[in-house]
Assembly symmetry: C2
Homo-oligomer: 423 residues x 2
């Protein structure tokens, strides 16, 4: 149960003397406002994990049923409605411990992809969880219909009632649908936006369904919540302050990188969190991500020698949770004998340390966030840390980290083309 460690020393070298203390003060003040001021805008339901994590017993029960009876669990959601759960599931890969296969639907209009998902459910025991705060979003809405119709060909009304879980806001059409059909209904709390929903039923039910440890995950979140509170914003305020100062100095792209490929989906959660919270009013650090060492062979050249407007944030995993050692093979003569007896974990760490040093020397402010292992507890910590940091960071930038007005523009045009009533 080790804690996250943040090291900003290599980035501080790019800042003017004395500026960090001041910015850290500002960040701390925004943090205190976040946790203390009344929630007049109705967006801070996530600040307390305890408040977000409702209906735990119901989810434990339903999760156990899905874990036991489903061959395939279809998570129907897009953006904030699936990213957090997906990142944990794809990192821990519970399927290799006998959990159901998980399919992600409700996140595309490609008929090719939808066909693939429908094919993968054929003839298998299917459970679905449809997650939609605003049940007007096209992708989950249309996929729910298509999947439901397929399931109704095979299951009775009673069987459907067991197999469908809807997650939405109280009072929404989704809740009515659950009541009319006897489906299980879970709360997407009104005061929690999609990208801040990791500790609500949005992020929790899929974990329970895949047999993951919801309690350890929540404990990680709560532990970080307490730690930040005790430290006046602590590492979250520090991360926010450092990137704010770097942005003011013209560093306007942040790459989140990791040497652990299992974190690929975590980067996508982070990408949404920061992109959608800060990319407004013609400002904001542009978020991007890479998985090293593979992507050193793609974007490494740019990181080392391209435009010097890059921040690089390393997510380091101390304990990879596996060991593969390189056995000698002297007779073969592959010229890699200097690796004899080494574990890949050791090589991976050498590559990571070399990369940080080379990129920092090349003019990239590097930040390092280290976690022990990639388990449920660690993800709880990571999610709370980044959500708190992002909320503070948006305020330092002078934008509202909880809105996303910009995504309405294309939707209006699209709805008009599709003939949606009232648009």
């Amino acid at each position: 149960m080790s804690g996250l460690v943040l090291d900003t020393s290599l980035a501080q070298a790019f800042l003017e003397q004395g500026t960090l203390g001041q910015e850290r003060e500002r960040a701390g003040a925004f943090y205190r406002e976040l946790i203390e001021a009344p929630d007049t805008a109705g967006v801070k339901g996530w600040v307390s994990c305890e408040e977000a994590a409702v209906q735990l017993d119901l989810m434990r029960e339903k999760g156990a049923e899905i874990r036991e009876k489903a061959d395939v669990f279809v998570l129907v959601g897009v953006g904030g409605s699936n990213q957090a759960a997906r990142a944990v599931v794809e990192s821990i890969q519970p399927r290799y411990n006998g959990a159901p296969e998980i399919l992600y639907a409700g996140n595309t209009f490609s008929p090719y992809e939808i066909g693939r998902i429908l094919d993968a459910t054929a003839g298998r025991s299917v459970y679905i969880n449809v997650i939609a705060k605003n049940f007007e979003t096209l992708e989950p809405g249309s996929h729910f219909r298509v999947l439901r119709q397929r399931m109704q060909e095979r299951y009775t009304r009673e069987e459907m009632a067991r197999r469908v879980v809807l997650t939405g806001t109280y009072g929404s059409r989704l809740e009515e649908i659950a009541q009319e059909n006897g489906y299980t209904f879970l709360s997407f709390p009104e005061r929690i936006g999609g990208r801040y929903s990791a500790f609500s039923p949005v992020g929790l039910l899929p974990l329970a369904a895949m047999g993951l440890d919801m309690d350890a995950y929540l404990e990680g979140g709560r532990q970080m919540q307490e730690r930040l509170r005790a430290e006046g914003g602590g590492i979250a305020a520090e991360y926010a302050a450092v990137r704010s100062l770097l942005y003011q100095k013209g560093f306007d792209i942040e790459m989140l990188v990791s040497f652990e490929p299992r974190l690929r989906w975590f980067s996508r959660w982070w990408w949404q969190l920061f992109g959608e919270s800060e990319g407004k009013q013609k400002k904001g650090i542009f978020p991007a991500s890479a998985i090293y060492s593979e992507d050193l062979h793609s974007i490494g050249q740019y990181m080392q020698d391209g435009r010097r407007n890059l921040i690089e944030s390393f997510l380091t995993v101390e304990d990879p949770g596996a060991s593969v050692r390189i056995a000698p093979d002297p007779a073969f003569g592959d010229r890699f004998d200097y690796l004899d007896g080494m574990d890949f974990a050791q090589i991976n760490r050498a590559a990571e340390d070399a990369t940080i040093r080379a990129h920092a020397e090349g003019g990239v402010p590097c930040i390092r966030l280290t976690t022990g292992r990639l388990d449920e507890y660690a993800f709880g910590q990571l999610y709370y840390f980044f959500m708190a940091a992002c909320a503070v960071s948006g305020r330092l930038l002078g934008v509202d980290p909880f809105d996303q007005e910009g995504v309405e523009a294309y939707k209006r045009l699209m709805f008009r083309t599709l003939g949606k009533p009232g648009v």
Copy 2:
């Protein structure tokens, strides 16, 4: 066999009157130099598809054997040694037509990932293709050893000789290893860099092994080669000229986006091509990518309202190669009845057209490249188009699009830590 269509009109609106003609001239001149000037630096072996595509009969034969006898085909390569083939395979998904499972190895040091790959080969018929131009690269070198040792526990020397294909340069240690062990050896032509190797055996053998149509793919490349030659650089010079002018005006991030999730791996090939070719001398457009509509729920807000330094290049697929229609369900009352009877292809296109319009109106220069279907022929066209465009684009930027000195910095430090002799 339709051709690619490039539409830069929405981006041209961001350029000064008259500048495009001039930049297009410069691009055309660089294009002619590319195809006409002697290859003194030894980097233009890819410019003629005919020159790159050697050993076709051997690959057809070996590919058919792998297709027939392998349960698992392991492609061991990193960066330019696997991206092109991976993008085609992951788009066309031949496994659903009975091809072997393909695993990608030689691209990580994570012991967790390597363990997963080793587990996936256990007890199954395994063939491997190790691709390494410079057989000093750690990832493929170390994975080749580990995989080879596992295979040797099960296969005789004669059986190993059938199951291992090595792709490297003539005269390299890899060629000697092939000779000493009776493995099949394929050429990684000396005058072709990794990211330009799509039409060499590097890109071809994996297609043949997965039962894909190598000839249609090469025909696509050749057709584009001829077309660009006939048009003095044609759409490749136009794309290069437009992005060069945009870069000069401060647009320094390019997002390659597509509404077809199957193109996820193609974006990664493109990412390496441009990132590694242009990110040097502290300049270059920063490449990034997204898959819409899913990522509109992540990065869409930033694209619409964030910093106005973004170029957005849409890769449009006219024919999705599938059809899923939305059947009415009036009694259920899900409020999506306005979609009744529509095909998802139609919705996807409406979303794409709305997005281009909304983002362009929001201040993003949008470029659109349209292809008919996602088949082997189309990928041949896309690869040749982008490689030619990138070679010209690097010259417009004033950098060498064929080197990648920047990737040596971290390697030196890493090799020193690992005790590599002579470093």
